[in-house]
Assembly symmetry: C2
């Protein structure tokens, strides 16, 4: 009887336990032992939250795989004690939620909604018509599952959509760039740029004082990806100088973002509290159980992390 | 040589003249006489803004057709002196702009954006995850060109999308209702409802104290259609009672909305200044000229108004 250890904060367990048990039953895995406490030598799989406190995998001598509870693996991928396959969470619900956040905030900036949301003062501001989406270039940096889905959704809304990734990709309806020169070209074309790169040493501060300079004046940044993708000092300087028109940030180098951080008080920054990529427990539980079932059948895991690339 | 009278306020003429002349040239109609002043007996076509001041068509004895400069015809359709075909503006740019406004504001309410846009106070509000679009019913009342396009865009974003129209319609991906019972069913299914009905005596106050009661508690109204579709007192009462969660209104019975109107100051109302359906001069000019070319060739006009139905 395989044992699955659920290693995450206790509030996660109360959310996930019913969904995991239901998914196990649906998949004919009722006999599996799902627990939050087990002797390390008896554990076959760990459903893992990097902030769980578990950092030494050495005692888990029978371990077959670790299944990350969310998409970002930067806090576990470099763990030298982890010697078994590691899978990222790729959840339909997460992808759908991300597409909704990204399309919503891109349309918000495209339409200039904040002027009206803040301007309920009796003044009829009908003096400017925004351009149509077809006349507004946007870029998505990062073309993994989430980035590709967001780029396609933006393209379907008529935005001329540029995508950028490390290696060449091809996505219908999206103008794909790659490599160092590709980044400059994607940014030069974008009035709104969305960050959905993985967090690796190579992607750290992808937006910095040099690359922010490639963006046209007044460009808007939307970062639902990772806080470390942005050089915060460079972004604040570009906002203060008016080169960047607005930043809507959902992820930060330190979370929760400290209450005295300048992002909170900057008039051209909107902080959202890491809500763009909320994993939905029901669909995430089904994804985790399907992957464990695959491993039990001897098949390679879905969404395996490449430990060399870091994602 | 046909004569086209441009009857609209002078600022429209400065916007439209270059686009109209370019479109005439593109269509081989360089010889047409386009003017803002002509003896009525010499005018063949009128490009018409209902607020132009021209209300008596009797002297225009040679008139072949009137081409409305925008989509709403309620201020001209009942004009008894108008005895020639009347065409509505159906502009690709207008449709695209409307789809962008509607999807943007529906996503804004779906995601609860205002909480974050207003809440830049250092408090990390990550306690609630909104449902996915697939779990949020929306309804579009009115399935003309604009309503159908908006309903399809919302369905593509995964919202279970209900549509309602006077007569039965069929739109791929949209659950279509019609007639009196259909309205109740559409509203009962909708957490967000978008009004895109034409303004006719039958559609006046479509949302009133009775029909607002069909909506689930906390429902949101988005009205980029016509101000007269809503009974304003009933809506304000439903907002005050908390039955309606928010209203984003772009059209009003009196425009500009008077500065002392309660809509401006209500905490759960967002006023936008009739910007959702801005006609874009370049594409509108092409549409007008294509229709005049059709008339010159003896073909029936596109987008003819049915004077009996009123739209």
């Amino acid at each position: 009887m395989p044992t699955i250890l659920f290693a995450a904060k206790s509030e996660r367990w109360s959310t996930y336990e019913p969904h995991l048990r239901a998914a196990l039953a649906e998949n004919g895995l009722d006999h599996v032992h799902l627990t939050v406490e087990a002797a390390p030598g008896e554990v076959d799989y760990i459903i893992y939250a990097p902030n769980s406190g578990l950092t030494d995998f050495t005692p888990y001598t029978r371990l077959k795989a670790v299944l990350n509870l969310w998409a970002g693996v930067e806090d576990v991928v470099g763990n030298a004690t982890l010697r078994v396959p590691l899978a990222r969470m790729v959840d339909d619900g997460l992808t759908e939620g991300m597409v909704e956040y990204v399309t919503g905030h891109v349309l918000r900036h495209h339409l200039g909604m904040d002027t009206h949301i803040h301007g309920q003062d009796g003044l009829w501001r009908d003096d400017s018509t925004p351009p149509l989406a077809r006349d507004r270039g946007v870029a998505v940096l990062g073309l993994g599952v989430l980035g590709a889905a967001c780029a396609q959704a933006l393209a379907r809304l008529n935005f001329p959509t540029h995508g950028w990734s490390r290696s060449p990709k091809s996505i219908p309806g999206v103008i794909c760039h790659h490599g160092v020169d590709g980044l400059e070209n994607a940014l030069r074309a974008a009035q709104i740029v969305v960050l959905l790169l993985p967090n690796t040493p190579e992607t750290n501060s992808t937006l910095n004082s040099r690359t922010l300079g490639f963006l046209p004046k007044g460009a808007v940044i939307v970062n639902p990806g990772r806080g470390a993708l942005v050089d915060d000092s460079a972004l604040l300087a570009a906002l203060d100088a008016g080169h960047i028109g607005h930043a809507t940030l959902d992820t930060f180098r330190i979370e929760p973002l400290p209450a005295d951080h300048r992002y909170w008080s900057h008039p051209h920054v909107t902080v959202t509290p890491h809500i763009a990529s909320a994993t939905r427990a029901a669909s995430a539980a089904r994804t985790l159980v399907r992957n464990i079932k695959r491993a039990e059948m001897g098949a390679p895991l879905y969404h395996l992390v490449d430990r060399g690339l870091g994602y």
